[in-house]
């Protein structure tokens, strides 16, 4: 659920001077320190990061902002997991915060459609200088720029138990057929190959999305995300069948199918990195690293490592990256908010967090050298360098289809895990649920 999204997110931006320059074009500070004292005000900001999950890092970002804008006070409220609930209620009640971070573009679209959000057109220039155009697209709804993807997480990553791979004598696979072959060998070495956290439906949709992306490429992926391709499409059938080769390999899942359904995301990580391991690999995003270091004794490189999601169809798609991310949206429009949004889109803002780890960004001006270690660099750097980046598909759906426990995608993919043979049935149900959700959203 949302907690896990926390980690999911990572991206950013930077260039404090630039921000100061842009935001302050008219009211440019006359002080030599580069401080802008003219912009005053308070910004309330609701976010998911709590003391244990990034509040401190975000506070550092705010501190840096205050060096240029000492008269703007940013009141960050760590709402935690319940952010979507709190935000939905606050918006419905007509009293939203000034700014918020939202992990689901689907929710942003919903708020934008309801006219609750203020466009951030004023930040276009800064964003254009720091991000390639596909990143601007991620924050654009019906032609207007509403959101800045401040933090992004690389979801096209697989984490593996190094000793388990070693004792099976396999190396990280480059292609999907190699992955299946490796999995077979790992199984005969006595350790199940896959650790699935099926109690959290989003781990399953993430797997499907990577498979779809690797098989059919970004264009088709985006079409399916926008429901321009139906879920009954043959391409979905192909992708589901491919996915069935993993989740249908019951004897090769930690705990078998019934275990896979009961383990949540955190369990799937601890299972794979326990001693002795209960499985050899986990398909999830860069934030797996945080769980590994907080809940297991595995050490980087000797205990755990990552490889890129194996390619399925050779070609350009083999390097496409799926991301999840925090979209920053504004519910009001004041000079203080403008200054803050412009600042957040710069490279220094992103670096302030990126150098502490657990943070990825699409900001092309953030050098890969800021990441604190090799594994972080390997997972985060591709986010800004990849030729094609797509956003988590389920997060782009209307939330009732893409982000609600036990219903829509999450619930149906859990049904698929229970019975991976019923591809056609799941396709039918997915399409019915998607159609209903899109109709309701209108």
């Amino acid at each position: 659920m949302t907690r896990t999204r926390i980690g999911v997110v990572c991206i950013t931006v930077a260039v404090a001077l630039l921000a100061a320059g842009l935001a302050g074009a008219g009211t440019r500070s006359h002080h030599h320190t580069g401080q802008n004292l003219a912009v005053k005000g308070t910004i309330t900001f609701d976010g998911i990061w709590t003391a244990s999950s990034g509040q401190k890092q975000f506070a550092d970002v705010i501190k840096l902002f205050n060096k240029t804008y000492p008269n703007v006070k940013v009141n960050y409220k760590p709402v935690g997991d319940s952010l979507p609930t709190v935000l939905a209620t606050a918006v419905a009640g007509g009293n939203p915060p000034d700014m918020a971070d939202i992990a689901q573009p689907g929710t942003v679209a919903q708020f934008a459609k309801q006219g609750k959000l203020k466009p951030i057109t004023y930040a276009k220039g800064t964003i254009a200088k720091n991000y390639v155009s596909s990143w601007q697209q991620l924050g654009t709804y019906s032609g207007k720029l509403y959101a800045l993807v401040f933090k992004a997480a690389n979801k096209s990553v697989v984490w593996y138990n190094v000793p388990a791979f070693k004792s099976a004598g396999v190396t990280p696979p480059k292609t999907f057929s190699q992955l299946l072959a490796d999995a077979k060998v790992i199984k005969s070495s006595g350790t199940p190959a896959y650790s699935i956290g099926g109690a959290d439906g989003w781990t399953l949709t993430d797997m499907f999305e990577n498979i779809y992306l690797r098989t059919f490429g970004a264009a088709k992926y985006n079409a399916l995300s926008a429901h321009k391709i139906k879920w009954t499409d043959p391409s979905v059938k192909t992708a589901l069948t491919t996915m069935g080769k993993i989740i249908g390999d019951t004897g090769n899942l930690a705990g078998g199918t019934s275990g896979a359904l009961q383990y949540g995301f955190n369990d799937s990580v601890t299972n794979a990195f326990a001693t002795p391991p209960k499985a050899a690999m986990v398909f999830e995003a860069d934030f797996v690293g945080g769980v590994v270091s907080s809940s297991t004794k595995a050490k980087p490189n000797t205990g755990f490592n990552t490889f890129t999601w194996p390619s399925i169809t050779p070609g350009a798609n083999a390097s496409a990256v799926e991301i999840g991310g925090d979209l920053f949206v504004t519910f009001r429009d004041t000079p203080a908010i403008r200054a803050f949004v412009n600042f957040l889109a710069t490279a220094p803002a992103a670096e302030a967090w990126a150098k502490q780890g657990g943070f990825g960004t699409g900001n092309k001006n953030v050098p890969a050298s800021v990441y604190p270690d090799a594994i972080t660099k390997a997972t985060e750097a591709p986010i800004s360098t990849a030729k094609s980046v797509v956003f988590d598909m389920s997060d782009q759906q209307p939330p009732s289809f893409g982000a609600t426990a036990a219903q829509g995608e999450w619930g149906l993919f859990q049904d698929f895990l229970k019975n991976p043979k019923d591809v056609a049935g799941i396709q039918r149900k997915l399409e019915a649920a998607a159609a209903a959700a899109y109709k309701k959203g209108k």
Binding site: M1, P84, T85, A88, T89, A92, T107, Q110, Q114, K166, S167, A168, G169, V170, K184, V185, K187, S188, S189, G190, T191, G198, A199, D200, G201, G255, S258, G259, L261, Q262, G264, P276, P399, S400, G402, A403, T404, A405, A406, Q407, G408, W410, G411, Q414, D415, L417, K418, K440, G441
Partner: protein, 449 residues
């Protein structure tokens, strides 16, 4: 007051009687003043939200008084399969849980009257009431874990089953030599026939390195021996996989495995244990055709635990946890009723020769009926509103199976969906379900008064 000692006080004069009866208006005013705080709370926290919710349920997703959709939200409620499951589950809860809680409470109450350590027992049974339902849900979720290494319930099952059917030494192994096949009993039989002088290779895979006995040495394929059937049982795996069915370097023998030699009719004629290098030797075998097998006990799976949180058992699992919480409440209330019961009636029945069971059924229960109905009705209301324990106990993958109305409302309105229209409709529906039960309760209050 001065510290200088006691001063005479003037005698207390009785307050003069109120000069006049306060007027009717005054009395209402006083009443209103006393009532105001409660009324204020009631209106702000109950009446206003209730009316708001009812009105909201006729509008679409986009806000209060947004798009009028008539009864569409209610139609959605009765046509969406997850919501229908929630309604069905609530019906099941009402049918099962209040009756069980009342029955268990009654039994405990009657029995505790007769035990010496009644207070201690009662305290323990009542204790769960002191824990929040959410905490209970989390606790039971851990206790219900399928892995006996994690879940207390299955750990108990494992201890018990371990006594009767111990796990085999190679429980996770599977055959790798072609021709070596699992039989229905769980044994592995090599279909390739063996004769005196044959060498039999029984390769196994799927054995984790830590499961291989410490004494294991490099596996050896023995040389054929005149008149004997020899062979080896080994972990047919080396890093990278190796060749199936071939003894290679880095592959370890599996010591201590019992291998059976079966004749043409399937009868075991000889057994042998493997050495550290995995080899075994059936000496002086009469001419004929044989098969070799590794007995089922070698592969007996340890107790894997029941999927208490799986699709089949999740609803009963929830019931058990919920009854565990509320049985104490029922016991205490019924116990109080029992204490207030006229003993002479019971004595009279016993004197007339009624057995204890008859006394219980014909006297105690009828006399307790008012108390039992209080417990029963309270539980119906509680069960209709059940939310937190389902939310905390059921894994997300089983929310669909475990769904109840209040949970469905929460997910529809607040989580992901953000659909306050349908959410309100669900809330109103739940409200309507509770009303008849409440009415029944109020009527009883009046009668009791």
């Amino acid at each position: 007051m001065s510290a200088g000692g006691i001063t005479a006080e003037p005698p207390v004069v009785a307050a003069p009687p109120p000069s006049a009866e306060p007027g009717r208006l005054g009395r209402y005013l006083v009443g209103a003043v006393f009532l105001a705080p409660a009324l204020f709370m009631l209106v702000v926290w109950m009446v206003y939200p209730a009316i708001y919710t009812i009105v909201r349920s006729f509008f679409g997703q986009t806000g209060f008084l947004g798009t009028w959709v008539g009864i569409d939200n209610y139609k959605t409620l009765f046509t969406t399969s997850t919501l229908l499951t929630a309604i069905k589950n609530n019906a099941l809860w009402v049918a099962v849980v209040p009756a069980f809680v009342t029955a268990v409470g009654l039994i405990f109450a009657v029995l505790t009257e007769r035990v010496r350590w009644a207070v201690v027992f009662k305290t323990f049974v009542f204790l769960p009431m002191a824990i929040s339902a959410f905490a209970t849900g989390v606790t039971w979720r851990i206790m219900y874990q399928q892995d006996p290494g994690l879940g207390a319930v299955n750990a108990l099952g494992k201890t018990v089953s371990g006594v009767f059917s111990p796990a085999g030494v190679l429980s996770s192994a599977s055959p790798s030599t072609p021709g070596l096949q699992a039989t229905s009993s769980g044994a592995l039989v090599l279909k390739t026939p063996a004769h005196p002088g044959s060498v039999v290779l029984l390769g196994l895979t799927g054995i984790a390195p830590d499961q291989v006995p410490k004494s294991a040495a490099q596996a050896v394929a023995p040389a054929a021996k005149q008149g004997d059937i020899v062979g080896t049982v080994w972990r047919d795996f080396k890093p990278g996989g190796g060749k199936a069915g071939v003894v290679e370097k880095q592959e370890l023998g599996l010591p201590g495995v019992t291998v059976d030699l079966r004749d043409a009719s399937g009868k075991t004629v000889q057994s042998a244990k493997t050495q550290t290098d995995g080899t075994f030797d059936f000496a002086k075998v009469p001419a004929g055709t044989y098969t070799t097998a590794i007995g089922a006990q070698t592969f007996a799976k340890p107790f894997g635990g029941y999927a208490w949180l799986g699709p089949k058992l999740i609803v009963p699992s929830l019931f058990i946890a919920y009854i565990w919480i509320w049985a104490g409440f029922a016991m205490v209330v019924i116990g109080a009723g029992l204490a207030a019961m006229p003993r002479d009636v019971l004595e009279a029945a016993r004197t007339d020769g009624a057995t204890e069971l008859q006394v219980f059924r014909r006297v105690t229960v009828p006399l307790l009926a008012p108390v039992l109905s209080v417990v029963f009705i309270t539980m119906i209301i509680n069960v209709l509103k059940v939310f937190d324990i389902v939310y905390a106990l059921a894994p997300q993958s089983e929310y669909g199976k475990a769904n109840v109305i209040a949970l469905a409302m929460y997910f529809t309105a607040f989580q992901g969906g953000g659909n306050f229209g349908v959410g309100s409709a669900i809330a109103v529906f739940l409200f309507l379900l509770v009303i008849p039960v409440l009415a029944l309760n109020i009527r009883r209050f009046k009668r009791d008064a």
